[in-house]
């Protein structure tokens, strides 16, 4: 922390190191080259990568390159020129280095993609090489520029309207990029788009702008939450009546809602549950067997809202049955018992086919032909037209799942910011001491377990109708493992992180189907890299960060200040 409370309006530029005199013009030249190259043809073949073959008419991937070049321009101007004021706050050089690196990688991948999709480098047109050279120039220039001393980002204050505007712009960008990325047909374009996203993220992170975004988000929590939901709500309207991406989006939402539920168990209460998918499964089976499908085994057909409650209730009861004996013993047992429970659930669903006991589940065949939901005359299978845009079957489920996700997030944050949440923190830190303080450790752990199961059960009932069928093989251990991976990848105990993790883990395999053989390998690699470089996850809750970086005292004080701010806001 600096001892300066209100930073002076003008940065002290005089004392700054200047670096190599050539560096700055070199970077500028790089920017010009990338942009010029992008206006020229990159590829001889017009059939690939969404047509990059026309001069002076940049295709989508070329526009992405231009955007990155413009970001580099802003960074250069912040280094020296009209935007130096910005440079006093942002670590411009570090950002430029990250950008140079990712942009060069981007261009390199473009060249690889062109030669892979057609027949070799022969199909690359000069524009591609020019842009590539420009990217390399930016990279070199960034390494010649000096790194600088920075102000503390948490002291940066801009007018409230500007902060809210920034949130709006950011959200709009997220929506736009998500729609664009999902619309990409071929895998190479999608990968390049991911590199683009990574480049922007890297710049934001390295310059420290992301930490500013974090502080802004902290200050404008409600605005951020509302606009995030607004963006999610608007997403189906960007799809122009196509249901293909909506099908993926609904799967992402089911996965995300379930992961958020597990996040209560794992992230807040610190309990390792390896059979969580079984709770989703029990909800789904309840909904399936009570549906009007010809294969449904239960005669009683209550309205869906009742079915939802029954499904969630059954899941929560199972949670209590598993939890009561095991939560009294140490964590390792819980992992083993839940792992076993997940398998027992699957085998039970497999075997309750009438040959061994009652026929409840039709065994391996499961319950197919589950009809679409109908709530209050609104049929989820029909196409509805809103504001001139057709919303298909998956869009309908998407909206329902969005409400569910919002509910799960609400439950999560309510619990997290309550006395119960504090008790969970104490249990994670030192269970014995927590007990001596009067924290009912068993009760709180059981509560986490039951609430988590309840929420998964709720999601399961919707999933059954959305999938149209349930069968035992949907609820294998691998699914539980993926849910956990989403939490670890995104950031245990956080909302944004787990949503991000869930989206990444569900979306990538859908869009990168040709990788499917290596899917597990890639995820394993991803997790190993995460554990090495960012063990707290993509979005780290400040407290978790502290758990991995204990020596950082400034961070610790910051954590507490933020907590106090939140408390005051309440």
């Amino acid at each position: 922390m600096t001892d300066v409370k209100t930073p002076p309006a003008e940065p002290e530029t005089a004392a700054e190191p200047q670096g190599k005199p050539l560096a700055w013009p070199l970077g500028l030249a790089g920017v010009v080259l990338v942009i010029a190259g992008s206006f020229l043809s990159w590829s001889y073949d017009g059939q690939i990568l969404g047509d990059l073959s026309i001069n002076f008419y940049p295709g989508g991937l070329q526009i992405l390159a231009i955007i990155l070049a413009l970001i580099a321009l802003v960074l250069l101007l912040a280094e020296k020129g009209p935007l130096t004021k910005l440079g006093a706050w942002l670590d411009v050089t570090a950002g430029l280095r990250a950008l140079g690196l990712t942009l060069t990688l981007y261009m390199l991948l473009v060249l690889v993609a062109i030669s892979a999709d057609s027949d070799g480098l022969i199909n690359v047109n000069p524009g591609g090489y020019i842009s590539f050279a420009g990217a390399a120039l930016i990279l070199v220039s960034a390494w010649l520029l000096p790194l600088r001393q920075l102000r503390d980002m948490s002291e940066a204050r801009l007018p409230a309207w500007f902060e809210i505007l920034s949130i709006a712009v950011l959200m709009a960008a997220v929506l736009f990029v998500a729609a664009y990325a999902l619309g990409l047909e071929d895998a190479w374009s999608f990968i390049l788009c991911l590199v683009f996203i990574a480049a922007v993220a890297a710049v934001l992170f390295r310059t420290g702008a992301l930490s500013w975004v974090g502080h802004v988000a902290q200050r404008n929590r409600k605005v951020l939450t509302l606009s995030a939901f607004l963006v999610a709500f608007l997403f189906p309207f960007t799809q122009g009546g196509s249901d293909a991406n909506m099908s993926i989006a609904t799967q992402v939402l089911v996965f995300a809602a379930t992961a958020m539920g597990l996040n209560i168990v794992v992230g807040l209460a610190g309990l390792l549950d390896l059979g969580y998918i079984a709770f989703l499964g029990s909800g789904a089976y309840v909904a399936a067997t009570m549906s009007t499908s010809a294969f449904a085994t239960i005669g009683w057909k209550p309205p869906f809202l009742v079915v939802m409650l029954i499904g969630a209730g059954v899941a929560a009861t199972l949670g209590l049955i598993i939890g009561t004996p095991t939560l009294r013993v140490s964590g390792d047992y819980l992992a083993i018992v839940t792992l076993g429970f997940g398998e027992i659930f699957r085998f039970s669903m497999f075997n309750l086919d009438g040959n061994n006991g009652p026929n409840l589940t039709n065994g391996p065949n499961g319950v197919p032909g589950i009809p679409d939901l109908e709530i209050g005359g609104f049929n989820f299978g029909d196409v509805h037209t809103v504001a001139g845009i057709e919303l298909g079957r998956f869009s309908n489920y998407y909206f329902l799942l969005l409400i569910l996700t919002a509910f799960v997030i609400l439950v999560f944050s309510r619990l997290n910011n309550s006395r119960i949440g504090r008790g969970w923190v104490a249990i994670r830190e030192d269970e014995k001491a927590a007990e001596a303080m009067g924290v009912s450790t068993f009760g709180l752990k059981l509560l986490a377990f039951a609430v988590g199961a309840f929420l998964a059960g709720l999601a399961g009932t919707i999933k059954a109708h959305q999938d149209g069928a349930v069968s035992p093989d949907q609820y294998i251990f691998l699914e539980s493992a993926f849910l956990l991976a989403a939490i670890v990848l995104g950031g245990m105990g956080t909302i944004a992180g787990v949503l991000l993790g869930a989206t990444i883990l569900k979306l990538l395999p859908e869009k990168l189907r040709f990788f499917s053989e290596y899917r597990l390998l890639l995820f394993g690699l991803l997790l190993v890299l995460m554990m090495r470089f960012r063990p707290e996850g993509l979005v780290a809750s400040r407290r978790r960060q502290l758990e991995f970086h204990e020596e950082d005292e400034a961070l610790a004080v910051e954590v507490e200040e933020e907590r106090l701010a939140v408390e005051e806001a309440k």
């Binding site: 006395r419 504090r422 008790g423 923190v425 104490a426 830190e429 030192d430 014995k432 001491a433 927590a434 007990e435 001596a436 303080m437 009067g438 924290v439 009912s440 009760g443 407290r543 502290l546 758990e547 204990e550 005292e553 610790a556 004080v557 954590v559 507490e560 200040e561 907590r563 106090l564």
Partner: protein, 238 residues
């Protein structure tokens, strides 16, 4: 009037090892009672059993006339019996204030908790000055203050302290012991477990000497201080 805390024929075992063998003692309202004994005598075991973290194999524990030996630990705290455990057991990654708030976990009156937070800061000003600091960065003495402040946050009628002077400098020990007297004058009854017999007995209204699971001596603090056996065994005099 019956005693605030009464222990009758308490026996506690870890598997086959009997750590506490049919001990009986009591703590009267408003008193400071010391329980002294060498390493492994069973002092910590006794406290852990009273606060519900361990279950006795036989015997009874009565708090304010009611049996608590089968009551859950969090209920016991809620009834007004606080336990500052051996080795302090503060939450190192949580801030001072969060530690204190956890001490008040069993309470459901946020306003009262706020006032008590201020009293804790009055009692130990250093806690107030560093309320945002993670407790793990504190020195041993500061951690002990935090542990005591935290235990007081449940507004206990009876406070049990397990070796509060462990590893402290003489000055810090004095500070802690004078706080014990201060708390007593404010109306808190205290059961003090110590190896430092001199310090503990000086302030105690009554004392018990525990040896390999049995109470071998008892008397007022002053009587024990001048007792030959105590002087030999615990004060290193001959």
């Amino acid at each position: 009037m019956s005693a605030m805390l009464e222990v009758r024929d308490l026996e506690v075992a870890y598997g086959k090892i009997v750590a506490v063998k049919k001990i009986s003692f009591s703590v009267e309202q408003g008193q400071v009672v010391s329980l002294i004994g060498t390493n492994g005598a069973g002092k910590t075991t006794t406290l852990r059993t009273i606060s519900g973290l361990l279950r006795p194999t036989s015997g009874e524990v009565l708090f304010q006339g009611e049996r608590i030996d089968q009551v859950a630990a969090h209920d016991i705290v809620a009834r007004g019996l606080a336990h500052s455990p051996e080795g302090r057991r503060i939450f190192p990654r949580l801030s001072v204030e969060e530690n204190l708030l956890l001490g008040a976990f069993a309470r459901k009156d946020p306003a009262g908790v706020r006032t008590d937070l201020d009293s804790a800061y009055d009692l130990f000003p250093i806690l107030g000055e560093r309320r945002k600091q993670p407790a793990g960065t504190f020195s041993g003495g500061e951690q002990q203050m935090l542990a005591m402040g935290r235990a007081m946050m449940s507004r206990p009628k009876l406070l049990m302290l397990d070796e509060p002077s462990m590893g402290l400098s003489p000055i810090m020990m004095k500070r802690i012991m004078s706080t014990v007297s201060e708390l007593q004058s404010q109306g808190t009854t205290i059961l003090l477990v110590e190896q430092n017999a001199q310090a503990a007995l000086k302030r105690a209204d009554f004392g018990y000497v525990l040896e390999v699971g049995k109470i071998v001596l008892s008397g007022t603090g002053r009587d024990l201080l001048v007792n030959d056996e105590v002087r030999k065994a615990y004060l290193g005099e001959d």
